[in-house]
């Protein structure tokens, strides 16, 4: 390993890579189909095609974030914002 990892950092970052990035991906998919001002077809296609880059990008961020806590916080924060926007759009649009 090139970076000096502590065991806690390894497990918490791995958790962020696996779980927090997945939460962000799901929130992005839901946002695409409920919050994007495009047709249903384009929304699902966007979710399918852009979803994976978003997922992998979130994984990379989880590795690169200054601390594991920050990785969890930022990724879940964005997921909550996207999910909230999706819920609002679903309720009012």
């Amino acid at each position: 390993m090139k970076y000096s990892w502590t065991p806690i950092e390894v497990w918490s970052r791995t958790g962020a890579v696996l779980l927090a990035s997945t939460a962000l991906y799901l929130a992005f998919c839901v946002f695409c189909v409920t919050g994007m001002p495009v047709g249903q077809d384009v929304a699902v296609a966007t979710g399918v095609l852009i979803g994976f880059p978003v997922w992998v990008g979130a994984m990379c961020y989880a590795v690169l974030a200054r601390t594991a806590l920050r990785a969890w916080g930022i990724l879940l924060g964005i997921a909550f914002v996207l999910g909230g926007c999706a819920a609002l759009a679903h309720a009012f649009l």
Partner: protein
């Protein structure tokens, strides 16, 4: 070119190496089986003599499907649902899937389009089926499929992180291969050169593989939010099936214009260059029967499917959905399918993809070898296990796959079912290879022994075919059975390549076990804060 901070670089490097180590061997299996499955139609003809192409006109769909459905059905009632995968370019076979009605549980079969001969598809076993299932670990059921999708996703992560750490040296590394240098430099060079050559290919396959493996899960939110939880509607929107249409029941069937052949011909003429791929018959033989014909525009890599729906009893055209007006999801998903299955560039593209898939497998192995070589002085159990598993599982796949092919023509009669026999031979021999790698002291010798065994066994493949079926390569060539010749020649080339690799492997020159002096050197570099990778990079 952007430059990354030292911290970013180190973290990306670690993410790349750890991802590669964790998924490497599974990804290797996916790439090797995928490479072989590019020629699954040809391999199926090779293993099933009755499916081999023979001279003559293609039989009608009625003649091809009739005996299969008659055999599956009981009494006069046909199955209620029939799916047909139409043959391609005169070489492929017709695929028939039937379920419902008197047929009961699902059955499928492959039919020779010229002779009409057919074979029931085994659930497991047989070469193509075993390789096909192994390609997405379907031996473990749906969880295996999802696992293959997750591996595809992490392969995408490995590609992104690997490209990032090499980004500013991409051009330089591409032209740098030094096999005469130290082993770890040679492995690292090979890893980077092959990785750069195959970068677009690996990216495409990681992406489309992740989609195909995980589609059952990633479609769930879309299905629940947009399609009332119906996955079938998601797949319909994605172009796998024709749109839903109301089919009225009729009193009497039309005497003309409703045969499958006539409906296929009408679909073929519906749009320029339209190539029907599948036909689906629902409620077959009933007054409200419906026939869907789904296809693509011939020769195009990107684009969606088009479909026509006919009334099965009257032949009336109920719906017409041209490929040029396919929706965004249909286009996105079907383009991924065409790219993943290499359905757009003919034989030349399949051969190119086959070579790139082998190169990608080599990228994975050289990555493992580099990791192991820079840690050679570290006496860690995990590294020893990884080295032995790499030899047993990856190199051991060569003799196991060759034996799988041989088992199709050399099987004992009676004692065991054909499906069980091929499974036993393939997984049994593969397991023995892993066991052999785990117990032998010299890993380089294990690689050489397995490569040589795989090479010799691969050279026997045309012999087995010739002796069992009489279709020697020159006989098959004269009869125009290119698929059989192709598999035989491919096996010989692979066998020679494996023997060449075995001969080129200098076991004597393999690095000796670490000495005390090596360990002192390792401790000295560690004490100066230099990791094995930094030592490697300095050397490179």
């Amino acid at each position: 070119m952007p430059t990354f901070s030292s911290r970013t670089y180190k973290l990306m490097w670690d993410a790349h190496s750890m991802t590669g180590i964790v998924i490497g061997l599974a990804l290797f299996v996916l790439f090797v089986t995928g490479a072989l499955l590019l020629f699954c139609g040809e391999i199926r003809q090779w293993e099933e003599p009755s499916l081999r192409a023979s001279p003559g006109e293609q039989a009608s769909l009625k003649a091809m499907t009739g005996p299969v459905l008659d055999s599956l059905g009981r009494g006069d009632t046909p199955p209620s649902y029939v799916y047909l995968g139409l043959p391609d370019a005169g070489h492929d076979n017709l695929y028939v899937y039937a379920t419902g009605g008197t047929v009961g549980a699902s059955h499928d079969a492959w039919v020779n389009p010229k002779s009409g001969a057919w074979v029931a598809n085994p659930n497991e076993g047989a070469i193509t089926q075993t390789l096909y299932y192994l390609h997405f670990f379907y031996q473990f059921g749906l969880w295996g499929l999802y696992l293959s999708g997750v591996i595809g996703l992490f392969a995408l992560l490995a590609v992104v992180t690997g490209t990032t750490v090499h980004f500013d040296r991409l051009v330089k590394d591409f032209f740098q291969f030094r096999p005469s240098e130290k082993l770890r430099v040679a492995w690292a060079d090979a890893h980077k050169v092959l990785g750069t050559i195959g970068l677009p290919f690996q990216t495409m396959y990681a992406f489309t593989g992740a989609y195909l493996g995980l589609v059952g899960l990633i479609a769930l939110p879309y299905a629940s939010l947009l399609f009332d939880g119906s996955m079938a509607d998601f797949y319909r929107e994605a172009g796998y099936y024709a749109p839903t249409v109301q089919v009225d029941s009729v009193e009497t069937a039309s005497p003309t214009g409703t045969s499958l052949d006539q409906l296929a011909a009408r679909a073929r003429n519906a749009w320029p260059n339209f190539d029907p791929k599948t036909m689906i018959v629902s409620n077959m033989g009933e007054p409200d029967s419906r026939v869907e014909v789904i296809g693509r525009t011939r020769g195009s890599a990107f684009g969606g499917t088009g479909s026509l729906v006919f009334h099965g009893a009257t032949g009336e055209e109920l719906l017409r959905d041209p490929p040029s007006e396919a929706g965004a999801l249909n286009q996105a998903v079907q383009s991924m399918e065409v790219l993943h299955f290499a359905e757009f560039g003919g034989l030349a593209l399949k051969i190119l993809f086959f070579l790139l898939a082998l190169a990608s497998s080599a990228v994975i192995l050289t990555g493992n070898f580099t990791w192991l070589e820079v840690r050679r002085t570290q006496d860690r159990t995990i590294n020893t296990i990884l080295a032995r598993l790499t030899a047993g599982a990856a190199t051991g796949m060569a003799p196991a796959t060759a034996l799988l092919f041989l088992s199709a023509h050399w099987r004992p009669s009676g004692a065991i079912s054909p499906d069980g026999w091929t499974d036993l031979v393939f997984f049994g021999s593969w397991g023995l290879c892993v066991l052999y790698a785990l117990v032998r002291p010299n890993i380089a010798c294990v690689h050489r022994a397995l490569l040589a065994t795989g090479g010799v066994l691969a050279l026997l493949i045309p012999l087995a075919n010739g002796l069992a079926t009489g279709d020697w390569p020159w006989v098959a060539w004269a009869a125009g059975r290119g698929a059989v010749v192709g598999v035989d020649v491919g096996a010989v080339l692979c066998g020679l390549a494996l023997l060449g690799l075995a001969a080129g492997l200098d076991v004597e020159a393999a690095p000796p076990p670490p000495t005390d002096q090596d360990r002192r050197e390792e401790e000295r570099t560690s004490a100066s804060g230099r990791t094995p990778e930094e030592v490697l990079l300095d050397t490179a």
